[in-house]
């Protein structure tokens, strides 16, 4: 099995080849580049599954190989190292192998879905579309198995580029290029901090490796044990600072508060792109990075608490906004932000398994929901307003039942996948929260968000599929073919059963050993000791409490979150599962305007860019033109003016010259006389 690892580079290189082929020959190819994309991502998927098998079946159970040296040189590290190597390398451990499968699977299904969603609709620019998908898949896969922080940063940025290209796919409109720009700019603002973090970590520890003897995580742990100073801070504070800097990139890409504003706008891209990038993978990159370098964050209780708090807050904050959206994709956009908040919450309280579990489940059910909404958009002839839908249930049963499976998972209804992972996150947050008031607050926000999640999810389901058709299009929808149905069915099954991977509560109650994902991430089937759940768990500095016994705490937590989810769903049922639903917005009063305007988050960020930075830039430009360049032109004016005046002496009249000559001679004599002391 170990031999399979030698093929690991091909996982990312296949889609890269598809990118090149689509770009160079796309217009001449039968499906404009779709076929190479499907073949490449299919190949990546098979190889990723092989990696999963190789991790489980190998002796070492991981693969860590440097491919080539990008740049190397001498550099004094703060902890005393004197040289550094920046390399490209591959690290495949249980976490990376799992993520490779998720990414390549979703990418593969999105390619298949695109055959109908994009090709059949007579789009122009399809080679560009498939090239973008290929480049994206390449970047994301390379990011996932990057073995060091710098390489991760590089592909993280490339993922950002791809999102720019794909969100702006319909570049002839005004809104798509604007949304693309916003997505890149906002995430770049986060990446600015990330890059400082990379530079700081490299300059401190002389290495950027994630794993192994010479990893920065190990070096940081050693530095904290030594108790020395790093750049004038004590080691733990410095680890916190650098960890939070890297977190800037995470907050940008994973659309956490306050850098979440790009994601809803990013729905300007094709729905397939939304499914691939803004639900299942690119946004996942941020959270995945936290999981990838979890050993580093585990060293800093402050950083963890901040991750948890930001996550909990974002989960609630975004969920409330999802409640009032009319556009089906907008609802999903806000739910994405909210769900990544849960993952951050889980990781922040040390629930490494729970966070990764939800990452996986969410990838499946959110890709499903986005693709399902894509199917709805096809059915509705490109109508996205849910108020113009209704009654699609009977006309498109495959779409409806798969969408419903995704919705149940999203809302966290037992036994669908989302329930298990969300419950585990909330449980982990609760037991830590019982000892830490700040985490308790984060938990509480996450818990309240469950109600809103149940509500907006089922409001969406009821408005779209139930009731009477509200427009002629909804009466007589377009049909969808196998290329749309097949991916929906695959994801529908996964969204339903993926929870089986880690039935932690059942395991605790019955004692059955069925927490497979936990064993997987704990290195029981293979992996690196330093990157296992138990080694993280030992490092995480939080105390854990319980209400009564562990079992009562668990049951209480699960009951609470399930109850709230059902309450949300039933509220939606009562309000919207009627033949002709109405908006009910007046009941929200003033809150409606605030929610509708997304808490004015866009307003202040646009103001920062256009109301503050731009005028400052213009003022700087005026200053530059008048003062600095004015000084330069002034110097030249003075010399021109001086020359102009002096040249008047050149009158051409000989007597004038004679007079000047004599005057000059006399002046010279007087000067010499003074200096020579003649007049004394």
């Amino acid at each position: 099995m170990e031999g399979l690892f030698d093929y690991a580079p091909a996982i990312a290189l296949f889609p890269l080849a598809a990118f090149v082929i689509a770009l160079a020959f796309g217009p001449k190819l039968p499906k404009k580049g779709a076929i190479p994309g499907i073949v490449a991502t299919g190949g990546s998927l098979l190889l990723s599954l092989a990696m999963l098998a190789a991790v489980a079946g190998g002796e070492e159970g991981y693969y860590h190989e440097t491919l080539f040296t990008w740049a190397a040189g001498d550099a004094a590290g703060e902890i005393g190292t004197d040289a550094i190597e920046f390399t490209f390398g591959i690290l495949i451990d249980p976490l990376a192998a799992l993520m490779l499968v998720i990414v390549s699977l979703v990418a593969f299904l999105v390619h298949v879905f695109s055959l109908e969603y994009m090709n059949a609709e007579g789009e122009t620019g399809l080679p560009r579309y498939y090239a973008g998908l290929g480049l994206f898949t390449f970047s994301m896969l390379a990011f996932v198995y990057a073995d060091n922080l710098l390489m991760a940063f590089m592909f993280f940025e490339l993922v950002g580029l791809c999102s720019f290209l794909l969100i702006g796919f319909w570049f002839r409109t005004r809104s798509a290029p604007s949304a693309a720009k916003k997505a890149f700019l906002v995430t770049r603002f986060g990446d600015y901090f990330f890059l400082i973090g990379v530079v700081a970590i490299a300059a401190t520890f002389g290495t950027v490796q994630f794993a192994g003897e010479d990893s920065f995580v190990a070096a940081a742990a050693a530095a904290i044990d030594d108790g020395g100073q790093l750049f004038g801070f004590d080691a733990e504070t410095w680890v916190t600072i650098t960890g939070l800097l890297v977190l800037g990139g995470v907050i940008g890409k994973s659309a956490q508060f306050p850098l979440h504003t790009w994601l809803p706008d990013a729905m300007e891209g094709p729905t397939t792109v939304s499914a691939l990038i803004h639900a299942a993978t690119m946004v996942a990159a941020g959270v995945y990075l936290v999981a990838r370098m979890f050993g580093y964050y585990a060293l800093s209780p402050t950083a963890l608490a901040i991750i948890a708090f930001v996550g909990g807050f974002t989960a609630l904050f975004a969920a409330t906004m999802g409640v009032v959206k009319d556009d089906i994709k907008q609802v999903l956009a806000y739910s994405t932000i909210s769900q990544y908040g849960y993952m951050m919450l889980g990781l922040g309280v040390g629930g490494y398994v729970a966070g990764v579990f939800h990452l996986m489940n969410h990838a499946f059910f959110k890709a499903l929901l986005f693709l399902g909404s894509g199917a709805v958009i096809v059915l509705m002839h490109h109508e996205q307003d849910m108020w113009k839908m209704g009654g699609l249930k009977d006309k498109a049963p495959v779409t409806y039942y798969t969408f419903l499976a995704g919705a149940l998972a999203l809302a966290g209804i037992v036994p669908f996948s989302g329930f298990w992972s969300k419950d585990e996150i909330l449980y982990d947050a609760l037991i830590v929260g019982l000892e830490q008031p700040l985490i308790m607050a984060a938990y509480a926000m996450g818990l309240i968000a469950v109600f809103f999640t149940g509500f907006y999810t089922f409001r969406m389901v009821f408005l779209t599929f139930h009731g009477e058709p509200r427009t002629e299009t909804a009466e007589d929808p377009h049909s969808v073919g196998w290329a749309i149905k097949a991916p929906l069915l695959v994801l529908g099954v996964l969204a339903t059963v993926a929870g089986l991977a880690n039935l932690a509560p059942v395991a605790k109650l019955t004692g059955a050993e069925i927490s497979f994902l936990e064993y997987w991430l704990d290195g029981e089937y293979g992996g690196l000791e330093a990157l296992t759940y138990h080694s993280y768990h030992e490092t995480v500095p939080f105390e854990e409490g319980a209400i009564g016994s562990e079992t009562t705490t668990m049951l209480l937590g699960a009951g609470l979150s399930l109850g709230l989810a059902l309450a949300g769903a039933f509220t939606a049922h009562a309000l919207y599962n009627v033949p002709s639903p109405t908006r009910h917005t007046e009941k929200l009063g003033g809150a409606y305007d605030v929610l509708r305007s997304n808490y004015y988050q866009d307003e202040y960020q646009v103001w920062l860019a256009e109301g503050l930075t731009l005028p400052v830039a213009r003022a700087a430009d005026r200053f530059d033109q008048t003062v600095i360049d004015g000084a330069v032109d002034g110097v030249s004016s003075v010399s021109l003016f001086g020359g102009d005046r002096v040249k008047r002496i050149q009158s051409g009249i000989v007597t004038n010259y004679a007079a000047l000559l004599v005057a000059g001679f006399i002046a010279l004599l007087i000067v010499l006389g003074f200096l020579g002391g003649w007049f004394l």
Binding site: W70, A75, L161, L185, V199, A202
Partner: protein, 509 residues
């Protein structure tokens, strides 16, 4: 003799082009320029030097002939290459060839003179990077100005006379300052030097430094010379506040002149700073580290803010050069292998990327006859390939990983963050790094308004796909940019080899 051959081929080629008929001058100049470009690549492959040219390194392609005796001082024809100058020579030869091809469309008047001047400027630029005797170096250094003055003044835009004179006078006055300072330095070194050979002067500076001269203490002279030379070179770079000639020159210059101006001429300034100020005056550089780093940061941020306020595509790219050159200064003052090496790498990288950007803007201008952001939108609809390359170049400018700009900037940031020589380097570095956010802001704004959105053009021209010879040079540049971004060691290894001896004099190694 290879450098002489390189210079001779280029100069003779320039003369031949001057007398050739206008009709064939463009193609002829391209054919001729392939010779130096090929020779440059051969030099690159046959390079066997090591160490720093000024600090007793093994020179490649060295040649030294005594030339003139001025009093006690010997002037020699002394040329040779090390790991710092070679990449810049190769950059020059490649960029000149591509600039010539990119002139075929826009230049339709007095072609033989135009292409002759381009080849003439190429020869002088090679001379600047290869010369190791101050006298020879200074001749090339000054001789670069004349053809550039003419290129702007004859083939430029409406305000070409103002821009050309401003460019010439400003940089010439700066040269005078630098020249005077250098002569003072040579005299104050006394008997320690008997020639104008730069290695000898560098050795004398590092081993003894200036003696008291005309009643002024040696250390004061050294400091004054350092400052005067810094200012002299800073105009060329240019750093804030000596930058205002640059946007005017760029806006008025024809596209190929802009390509050379941003691509190579600006690097003369940073190259000279590295060779003179930072190699010969390590102590003074350390003493002035904080103000220089402040100037670097101000250039980065202020230059980027100015770019943000522009609506002329060429002005945007011009101001962004000020910003990018600020990174170079930061890398140099850091005095670490990654800092100085990254700065040198960034000189090459920025030459390629800014050249690409000016070409792309030029291609759009050829078709639309306007460069104003407000005059056009949706150009991607009509010229997809050219716009695709423009977008790629813009992301290169933003420092997208796997393109050369990222490595240059990353190396500089990494090198300066950990620098022990630069006080407050952990403050300066993040401040300068904010440039990567602003650059994304102004380039994406410009792209959004010009190449995306519904097609619209204020001027009355029919826009179609750009011809192959407009696009091909940009492809070549893009390929090099990506190659250097994926494998920066291609040149970084030789650069660090030449940088190390500089750092031994008080830097960090």
């Amino acid at each position: 003799m290879m450098i002489e051959a390189l210079l001779a081929v280029t100069l003779v080629g320039a003369l031949v082009t001057f007398v050739a008929p206008n009709r064939i001058a463009g193609k002829l100049a391209f054919a001729i320029s392939l010779l130096p470009a090929g020779l440059g690549l051969w030099l690159f492959s046959a390079f066997d030097g090591s160490g720093n040219a000024l600090l007793e390194g093994e020179l490649a392609f060295e040649s030294r002939v005594e030339w003139i005796q001025i009093g006690e001082y010997t002037v020699s024809w002394f040329v040779g290459l090390d790991g710092i100058s070679l990449p810049l020579v190769v950059l020059t030869t490649i960029l000149c060839t591509l600039a010539i091809v990119s002139s075929w469309t826009p230049i339709d008047d007095r072609e033989s003179q135009f292409y002759g001047l381009v080849l003439f400027i190429e020869a002088n630029l090679i001379g600047v990077f290869a010369a190791l005797d101050f006298f020879v170096w200074f001749i090339f250094w000054e001789a670069v100005l004349i053809p550039m003055y003419l290129l702007i003044g004859i083939w430029g835009g409406p305000r070409r006379k103002y821009a050309a004179i401003k460019f010439f006078v400003y940089t010439n006055v700066a040269s005078l300052l630098m020249f005077g300072a250098f002569i003072v330095l040579v005299f104050s070194l006394g008997d320690a030097v008997t020639s104008f050979a730069l290695p000898e002067i560098a050795t004398a500076m590092l081993e003894g430094g200036p003696e008291a001269f005309m009643g002024v203490a040696g250390s004061t002279i050294a400091a004054a010379v350092f400052v005067a030379m810094f200012v002299g070179f800073a105009v060329k770079v240019p750093v804030v506040p000596f930058h205002t000639w640059l946007p005017d020159a760029h806006v008025e210059a024809p596209t190929p002149a802009s390509v050379l101006l941003a691509g190579v001429l600006l690097k003369m300034g940073t190259y000279a700073l590295l060779r003179f100020n930072f190699t010969m005056f390590p102590e003074q550089a350390e003493a002035f580290a904080v103000p220089i780093a402040a100037i670097a940061v101000i250039s980065v941020i202020y230059g980027a803010m100015l770019a943000l306020a522009q609506t002329d595509l060429k002005r945007i790219v011009a101001y962004s050069s000020v910003s990018s050159m600020g990174y170079v200064i930061l890398g140099l003052i850091a005095y670490t292998q990654f800092g100085v090496g990254g700065a040198t790498f960034q000189m090459v990288s920025h030459g390629l990327i800014s050249g690409l950007m000016f070409m792309a803007v030029g291609v759009i201008y050829n078709a639309t006859h306007t460069r104003m952001v407000t005059d056009m939108s949706g150009m991607a609809d009509r010229m997809p390939v050219a716009v695709g390359i423009l977008v790629a170049g813009a992301f290169g400018y933003m420092g997208l990983p796997l393109m050369s700009g990222f490595f240059g900037e990353y190396a500089i940031f990494f090198g300066s963050f950990g620098s022990g020589r630069l006080p407050y380097s952990q403050v300066f570095t993040p401040l300068a790094m904010f440039g990567i956010v602003i650059v994304a802001g102004y380039l994406l704004f410009a792209l959004q308004r010009t190449v995306f959105g519904p097609y619209h053009l204020e001027t009355d021209y029919d826009v179609g796909r750009a011809p192959l010879h407009d696009v091909a040079p940009m492809f070549v540049l893009l390929a090099i940019i990506i190659a250097l971004g994926v494998a920066p060691e291609l040149i970084f290894e030789m650069i660090t080899d030449a940088v190390d001896p500089i750092l031994e004099n008080g830097g960090e190694l």
